[in-house]
């Protein structure tokens, strides 16, 4: 009896404490201060009115201006569309996947979703082909290369809402002082690192981020600029291709030679951007938003002009004569299949027409310093902000992750793990062979 009582008590104790422990973790997890906030932008008077066609949108929160931008958008849209009741829920990146998954599991999927991934929703037959939900005029606005990124088995499932591209940033002051030209090839890069190290050993010549956050980007930079890819032309995974092994060995070699930041497995891109802005890092690959990031940091810290760095960006160095490839990141709009009436599909088309109206769309892109996914938007953005013009060119030609493939999520975590194991001394070839065998079966 006592044993039974003891076991029962133990069960109750663990049950309650396990729940407490879980809560503690969940509450305190996401690092940014604004995480966990969801905000529904809806005019209270109109909410839920019967005759109107309701459209529910879940949108990702890109930065501090996103919520206000959507709030203004909703007011403007509902003001000019008497028969549609639009609500937009802006959710932080930390929570958006959980929010969407919970809604889907409870049969309460949004009508339109703004997020980065889409293949998982296609795999569960949750989406409508996007061409059925966008007017022909709007559909014609997108760069073809962008639409192709959302192609699964010949159907386009999503349209891009914005993009960002990557390039190599370098500190002009450090490179000049060390007598180094801007490197364009891997050999030049290594030589440049050596000279910078000799000039001042307290400066990190090259920045590498192989963290859980964005290690897949490092993998992409090196393999793409070694003329290789995640897949072959017919879309089969080629993760252990010789050129990929060579590329990652080169990157790991830079770390082992002491040319990079000291802890690439734990220092995220933001840590690198901070080091770069502080003049402690000479070169790094980063997105087009870096100037905004650094300027904001200088403004916050009241950094005097003489302590601010003089920097520029150039193409990512490549191996030998390979063409330099920029990495693009793209987010999307997709429409959930909620057995919608024709009326609703028309309303959704209205939404997209309104959103992608050229001036409004370029305003959306400029709002958080991103790049446009439509050619007309590109022209307007390039005119509005001169510093954006070269980026608009880059984004039209950059490569993207193979997010349309169902295994991408596993590949992404897999290549990060390979990089981190290699940093600890593992053989790149063996690790990539194992990953290839796991992914391709």
């Amino acid at each position: 009896m006592k044993k039974f009582l003891a076991a029962l008590l133990a069960l109750v104790m663990v049950l309650s404490l396990a729940a407490c422990g879980g809560d503690k973790g969940g509450d305190t997890t996401p690092p940014p201060a604004d995480s966990g906030n969801t905000d529904t932008q809806t005019p209270p008077a109109d909410a839920g009115s019967g005759d109107k066609t309701a459209i529910k949108v879940i949108a990702a929160e890109y930065g501090q201006n996103t919520k206000q931008w959507w709030a203004d958008f909703v007011t403007e849209f509902n003001g000019s569309h008497d028969d549609i009741d639009l609500t937009v829920e802006v959710v932080s990146w930390n929570d958006i996947y959980t929010v969407v998954n919970t809604r889907v599991a409870n049969n309460d999927a949004p009508d339109i979703l703004n997020i980065d991934v889409f293949a998982d929703y296609v795999a569960d037959d949750l989406l409508l082909p996007i061409q059925d939900c966008v007017s022909d005029e709007t559909y014609a606005k997108f760069y073809d290369a962008f639409l192709e990124q959302s192609n699964i088995d010949g159907t386009i499932w999503a349209i891009p809402d914005l993009a960002s591209a990557r390039a190599m940033y370098y500190n002009k002051g450090i490179l000049d002082a060390a007598g180094v030209e801007v490197p364009t090839t891997w050999d030049e890069l290594k030589a440049a690192c050596e000279k910078i190290k000799a000039y001042d050993s307290s400066i990190y010549p090259w920045g590498i981020d192989m963290t859980t956050d964005e290690g897949q980007a490092a993998f992409a930079y090196y393999i793409w600029n070694n003329g290789s890819d995640f897949t072959d032309a017919s879309g089969n995974w080629t993760l252990n291709a010789d050129a990929n092994v060579e590329a990652i060995e080169y990157a790991i070699g830079l770390v082992k030679d002491g040319y990079t930041n000291s802890d690439p497995a734990n220092e995220t891109r933001y840590a690198l951007q901070d080091l770069f802005g502080a003049g402690k890092l000479a070169m790094m690959i980063g997105p087009n938003s870096i100037p905004t990031y650094i300027a904001d940091n200088y403004a916050k810290a009241n950094t005097p002009a003489e302590e601010q760095i003089d920097y520029a960006f150039a193409a990512i160095p490549t191996n030998g004569s390979n063409a330099s490839v920029s990495a693009g990141v793209m987010d999307r709009f997709m429409v959930f299949d909620n057995e919608d009436s024709e009326e609703k599909i028309e309303a959704i088309k209205e939404f997209f027409d309104f959103f992608y109206e050229d001036t409004r769309y370029s305003d959306w892109v400029l709002m958080e310093g991103f790049l446009p996914a439509t050619s007309a938007g590109g022209e307007i953005v390039a005119k509005a902000d001169e510093s954006m013009a070269p980026w608009v060119d880059i984004v039209g030609s950059c490569k993207f992750y193979p997010t349309a493939k169902a295994e991408w999520a596993d590949v992404k975590q897999g290549v990060i793990d390979v990089e981190q194991q290699a940093l600890l001394g593992g053989s790149v070839k063996e690790l990539l062979d194992t990953l290839q065998a796991t992914i391709a079966g």
Binding site: K3, N101, Q420
Partner: protein, 318 residues
Amino acid sequence: MSTKTPAAPAEAQELAKKAPRPSGSKKLLRKVEPYIWIAPSIILMAIFIVTPIVKVFQLSMSKVTRAGLVKGYNNFENFSKVLKSPAFALVLKNTIVWTIAVVVISTVLGFMLALVLNNKFRGRKVARAIVVFPWATTLVIQASAWNFIINKDYGTLNTLLMKIGLISAPVNWTPTPAAYFAWEIACGIFVTIPFVTFCVLSGLQSIDASYYEAATVDGAGYFQKLFSITLPLVKSSLTVATVLNIIYVFNSFPIIWTMTKGDPANHTDTLVTYLYKLAFYNGKQGEASAVSVIGFVILLACASVYMIYTLRKGDDDL
């Protein structure tokens, strides 16, 4: 009030009939009353504790798509996938090292600190208040502060050591995953000590001073008193603190997540950070639930051993 007084006069009987007596409904109410009082807690526990745990057990045996749809039971496939993964053994080992190191060291240090704080000295109240600080601060903030202290490039530890001339160039305090894990354990110990200290302190304060006086008269030394009087008498507080700590530390998430996210390559992951990655980075909610269930079973085993052990010895000894 009784109605069964046989010798009562007729009048009295009449009165007694009119007086309120514990009728059937009142008896029922008395029986039910305790359950009504505990009902809110039972309902709350059912909603907030039992339901999520049942759900986790369900998910651990289901196929869950990346979009979050449950596609029926797949028996123990999630468990076999988790157990076959090469990372799992490493993560389990880390979890055991993490739990034992943090619990044992913080218990020893917390106990010693409690002994110090139990003495009468000037500023004792202030000292006690200061001990609470690490406990009262959010773990994420604590972990971020530790990260900031040990950072090679802008950390305060390097700055301090360079200023006082002990080192000439910044030292990388986290050159290996093991070093990083050791710092995480140090942070874990730092935030756990206050809890142990206060549990032990409450036990120490309940010890009657006459025991010590008698022991002193009999010529007992400090350590004799410590091991023969203090330790046996605070054993119950210490045991409770230890068991609670095992569960808290085992399930602790913020320190490791804030400092390393379990990187590099799971070398600093514990079961909780590992399952978080599985669920929210890899989209494998079924496998994540399986890891959660494994953790639950381990904790249940630990707690059962403790409960059986203490109950067998009887309440007095507890």
